[in-house]
Symmetry: C2
Subunit: 371 residues, 2 copies
């Protein structure tokens, strides 16, 4: 019989597109012995996680919960609950994750209209308005922080356009929440999800989700049951709401960890956290430019949590990543999809967004490129 | 602004229907800093988790993975991948979780036929044969360990009947895997899922799943895409298989924990683990009978991991549970569904299955019932 060693994993500095490094306090909370999922002590944790999620989303939405799965499960919850067969949906695609939303929406029977931009660019409210004039949509979906491109989609004015056409605005904030302002209520976003393992710096395994009262009304008006039982918000509302009706066993320890990660964000303060992410990103960009490199995304729409930098001509991008990993225990990522081979993706998310990490990365990259 | 305290949760002894207590070694593995989901070190963890899951399922099935969600996500993966709209499905219902399978199957468009038994009884192969003679089915589903009733469904001879009619046998082992033999290959089961937080004694958040080559053939013959993208086994196979194609970010730390929990099971040995669960359950049953109480399920089909004991006449069952929790930090559960108010549910799963826990519970119950 094969025998297996003790877990023996060399820590890395995680500067890829997520997961990011997890603070020691969060790891300690994670390892607290679990109690039952209906234990009054855990019910209190659930309440606090909801309150802290409202803080980070900047919303008063009652329906604000962590979905018991990773960020992709958050995306699927957003799609499965609000789309019925035949519903017209408009999807703004400027990277991999917009494509994924479209793929999911089609599986749930949506009539999908796509508008597209080159990877690294973003949409203007006028683009959405023009598309909705051609064909209205029940849902308009876009990605706030495109992990595949490093572009940050401006949200100002989007909801006005979408609501003006009678639609709901669905926004992916997996790579942005906690690192840059999402401001769900100020932007009047309707359906918003994220992941625990990026700028929130909890381990992967939970997907924060918040839903506006306007979107909940649409959920009530559904004619068919939500196909996806596990992610059905009607059932989840009964578990997370006052009824506390058993639905599934929440990932107890992951909720301990998410609570602690959100508590850290609250202690730092939202604005201070955003300023830290911004400052470390600017330091990274300046350092890379000083080395003669180019960022893939224009400065004004560049995501502070995830940078795409063009691989210099003649450089073997995969070999550089291997050396960073093997010699420096430092993880960055290559390009995805249309940007494969063209860029490196460098994450500065949550606990990984530290000045010293940028210093280490720039130094290591300089050494590796020198040969 | 509300401030939140350090996590301050009194440990309980978990003797409900799950989660069960988690061993210190597993909690330590859980708290190991995460690395990236495509890091070679994590890829090795994935391989080892798969091997250890094959060990505990007693199978050589290549497609053996932990689904990135709780036990209910395992159920949903089993249903979503193998059912297309209009497929005839036979579901054996003798408790809450059989009903849940039927509910999910209907949401994915199955034509569901139900056969039913009173809660606490089990099905014979002849029952299934008779039902399939009336109407054949693509899938026959049953629950091996019914957490709602404490009955253990015998699996001998079931696959022969189901395969004889050209169907696939789907079995829920959420409350049984690791505590009693599931023996996937010997029983020729086709689609089997479980949860991490019961007799495996990892925290909740992963759902082991194994699929036979016969069932994979059926998956390949699907005419429509799997509606559920997050749980689509075609995509998951590319991530867990040699291609290592990115699908979603696996819950890294939960996989660390599951690996360690399975390693503990391997060190103890399957037969020794089953014998421990059996011995502690027999000790519990004898103790309860000595106190004049009756088990709800006949001895020969009684689940060692979860006992339903009839609440004595005149006893306020909820008050007893509250006192066990408040005075002894000991969690048991009340009845669910048709057995609500009639039974207590006492779990002896995984790390919670200890002789000393039974001694504590019997002593505490004696004190509480004495008033």
């Amino acid at each position: 019989m094969t025998t297996y060693s003790d877990l023996n994993i060399t820590p890395r500095t995680l500067m890829g597109p997520g997961p990011s490094d997890v603070a020691p306090r969060v790891l300690r909370a994670l390892a607290h012995p679990p109690v039952g999922h209906l234990d009054p002590q855990f019910v209190k944790v659930m309440d606090e996680v909801q309150e802290l999620l409202r803080f980070i989303f900047e919303t008063t939405n009652e329906m604000t919960i962590p979905i018991s799965g990773t960020g992709s499960a958050g995306m699927e919850a957003a799609v499965a609950n609000f789309i019925e067969t035949g519903d017209p949906v408009l999807i703004c695609i400027n990277g991999y994750f917009g494509m994924r939303i479209a793929e999911m929406a089609e599986r749930y029977g949506a009539e999908v209209t796509r508008i597209e931009k080159p990877w690294g660019e973003v949409f203007a409210p006028e683009d959405v308005d023009a598309a909705l004039r051609r064909r209205s949509a029940k849902i308009v979906a876009m990605v706030h922080g495109e992990t595949s491109t490093g572009a940050m989609q401006p949200l100002d004015g989007m909801a006005e356009v979408v609501h003006g056409h009678g639609g709901l605005l669905l926004v992916d904030t997996v790579a942005s929440l906690g690192g840059v302002p999402v401001s769900v209520d100020r932007h009047a976003l309707d359906i918003v999800y994220s992941g625990s393992q990026k700028a929130l710096s909890a381990p992967p395994g939970l997907a924060p989700l918040t839903v506006s009262p306007r979107a909940l009304e649409a959920l009530k008006r559904r004619e068919s049951k939500v196909a996806n039982w596990y992610l059905d918000l009607n059932l989840l509302a009964n578990y997370w709401g006052p009824a506390r009706m058993y639905h599934h066993t929440a990932p107890i320890n992951m909720n301990y960890a998410l609570r602690e990660a959100l508590r850290l964000a609250q202690e730092e303060g939202l604005e201070a956290g955003f300023a830290r992410h911004r400052a470390n990103a600017e330091f990274l960009w300046a350092g890379l430019e000083e080395m003669g490199m180019q960022m893939h995304v224009a400065h004004e729409v560049r995501l502070p949590t995830l940078t795409t930098v063009r691989v210099p001509d003649g450089v073997d991008e995969a070999a550089v990543r291997s050396r960073l990993m093997n010699e420096f225990n430092l993880e960055i990522a290559g390009g995805l999809g249309a940007l494969k081979g063209q860029v490196w993706r460098v994450g500065l998310m949550g606990y990984s967004s530290q000045h010293r990490n940028v210093t280490l990365f720039l130094g290591a990259l300089r050494e590796v490129l020198a040969g």
